[in-house]
């Protein structure tokens, strides 16, 4: 067991960790759901039940059947295949958006923490507040209105709003670490703040980042679905869950399967990621596991 006072686990591969993973119900369910969708996305790279670029208008809007497990859409395409390929879009957009948020936010957070209280810190944090103050969906709409709708622009729009999230969490995590004696020890060893940030702070905030990353990832998937739903995400023929919902919207009254399955896909993926995030948080933070009176 990690010492509860350090609150941080070593990176050594510890098979007890895996036992904890499966002891925690939410983590296990989350992991399974996430793996199902990640797996579907991966499989779709090489194989899908049907070719989704082929339209078959004669076979449109068929309810689930043996041939099409989840039915067909308004162009006669196989919905299962669409969901599988759509998973790819969702996951890709969310990953890159989280990547942008981390790539920019983590260094900013580390930097702000290393110069706590300075003008730089103030500027970074105020800028972050400002990004938070902007209604994110509107900005995403403006970005796509400016540069045209596309998966790339959706990624950028989502990514920008991830930056302050990661900057903030990194900064607050780093600030507590900067109080710790081992940082002082590193300074006694003559290390500069940049080096300390990379060598000592960063590895110790990774847990925080993983947890937050999972959550932002799921938010990214929701955001992508929302943007695609209003037509600002990935453009056809690239399938996306949000657009599948938008396309099916007018048909929900007579072909509910068209709306049900993509909606379930979003719901279950996001649910899986959130459960995983929660489970990881519990796993990483022993404080939450210790119950007191």
């Amino acid at each position: 067991m990690a010492d509860p006072r350090t609150n941080i686990r070593p990176k050594a591969v510890d098979w007890r960790l895996w036992r904890q993973v499966f002891a925690s119900r939410s983590l296990a369910i989350g992991l399974v759901l996430t793996l199902i969708f990640a797996g579907a996305a991966l499989i779709s790279l090489v194989w899908a039940p049907y070719d989704i670029t082929q339209m078959n208008i004669a076979n449109k809007i068929k309810p689930p059947s043996g041939a099409h497990w989840l039915g067909t859409d308004h162009f006669g395409r196989d919905i299962l295949s669409m969901i599988m390929v759509g998973a790819r879009t969702s996951i890709a957009v969310a990953i890159v958006a989280v990547g942008i948020g981390m790539a920019a936010g983590v260094p900013l957070g580390l930097w702000a923490a290393a110069r706590k209280g300075s003008l730089l810190d103030e500027v970074i944090m105020r800028a972050n507040d400002l990004v938070f103050a902007f209604p994110s969906l509107l900005i995403a709409i403006m970005i796509t209105a400016t540069f045209g709708p596309s998966a790339i622009n959706a990624i950028i729009a989502i990514g920008i709003f991830n930056i302050p999230v990661f900057a903030r969490i990194t900064r607050s995590g780093a600030l507590t670490l900067w109080q710790r004696d081992f940082i002082l020890a590193a300074r006694v060893a003559g290390k500069g703040s940049a080096r300390i940030s990379v060598e000592h702070i960063l590895p110790n905030v990774t847990n925080l980042l993983i947890v937050q990353g999972t959550i932002q990832f799921s938010l990214g998937i929701l955001a992508e679905a929302g943007l695609s739903y209003v037509g600002l995400g990935a453009q056809p023929p690239t399938p996306s869950w949000g657009r599948m919902l938008a396309d099916s919207q007018t048909m929900i009254s007579f072909a509910p399967h068209m709306a049900l399955f993509p909606g379930m896909a979003i719901l279950l993926t996001v649910l899986g990621l959130n459960l995983m995030g929660d489970g990881l948080r519990d796993l990483f933070d022993p404080k939450l596991r210790r119950g007191r009176t």
Partner: protein, 529 residues
Amino acid sequence: MNLLRIAGLNLDIHGTPILRDVSLSVDPGQIVGVIGESGSGKSMTAFAVMQLLPNGSAATGRVTLSGHEMLELPERALCKLRGNEVGMVFQEPMTALNPIRSIGQQVAETILIHEDVPKSEAMARAREALNRVELPEDRFPLTRYPHELSGGQRQRVVIAMAIALRPKLLIADEPTTALDVTTQAQILALLTRLVREDGMGMLMITHDLAVVSGMADEIVIMQNGRVVESGPAATLFETMQHPYSKALLAASGHVPDRVDRDGGAPLLEVRGVVRDYRLPRKTLFGAPVVIHAVKGVSFTLERGESLGLVGESGCGKSTLTRAILGLEEVQEGSIRLDGEPVFTGHTANRAVRRRMQVVFQDPYGSFNPRHRVSRLVTEPFHLLDTPPTGAEREAAIDEALISVGLTPADKEKYIHEFSGGQRQRIAIARALIIKPDLIILDEAVSALDVQVRAQILDLLADLSARFGLTYLFISHDLSVVRSITDRVLVMKSGEIVEEGPTERVFDAPRHAYTQELIAAAPKLPEGVA
């Protein structure tokens, strides 16, 4: 009849045995001291009495409090007893109070919970309770909030809450561990007075033998969840049988063997050092607040010497340490090591810095938990222009680990695999690895159990003898300073108020503050160690 009687108490938490067959009793007006190392089950025993055990606890045996079987009472009845029949004071005064409610409200709550009285009356009685714990009305109105009080003052508020209804039993779980010696002495005196005045029984938990020896009537020694020894305080030290008790006693008064040295050449010269902190403006247009942490400190440390620096919390000890280590620039004065300034211009002097190392107080916080020991101890190599590599590096690690009593195999481990004492050894190994001239020990043994502390003190004495090290030993624990230093500096509010050979300062303190400090320090009875 006993006020409190614990008989054959067993406690498991989530199936892990915590307490085994614990028995003790407290009579009205009696103070029972419970001592034992960290994790021995002292606090759990107290919580078992209060029936405030963690989730997943299963207790068996008997706990009888003025006739009530605590283990059998329903929760409602327990609530009636808590605060009324039995009060409790906790270790950490900084967090024991609700930060958003005034102290008056919090003390009055004890009364309001148990008695159906109007709020105004409860407030009046809260006032009275605060007066009794020496928080007079003029300086401490009921409307104060906890953050406006010092640690010692907060602890008094907690005590006021516990005694507001004049309970029959008071449980104090390490009530002074987090406090300064002088404050500690005041709080202990206060508790003793209250117990005597009200004829309360008190269960006093501490890890410091000296604390209980001065005030307890009865002493209970615990180890690994068991009571290993108990008896009247007056005679226990002579009659004790159990090897653990003996070892504990021996360690408490332990003085490491030290080789006497003749005065050497000056190594560290500190001249008129001033360090101010400028706090961010509190108000929009007001002048910035300046804290004078160190106000013109001068002293000389000779090669091979062990110099002690004592003083209460916040007097500037750590600030001075950081200045010496070249981590922060000072506003005035100079710090030189062997004639070389620590700072040239505004940059710290690497050549000087590599000759000094430090060991910190917290054995848990001074290591990056993600690095292996080998990487941890070699961190100071960063100061060298050509750090050793390969086999040479491995040899240096092995040597450092061996010299602090660890084995070379330990270098592959992570820090969480070590106990507190072992960690402190690793911290010393880290300090030794670049063979510095000066090692600063900032409260290096304060967080350790007495037995471990004795070992580390022995190690330090041994290393100093072997490598001719020079120590600057910072501590608030006077007995430790006394046992390991040649000379001592007494610091108060950023100034050195007294300086002299250790023996002389302790035996014949000249400055009033030093006298106060020494008088406040709890002592074991004469001749037991």
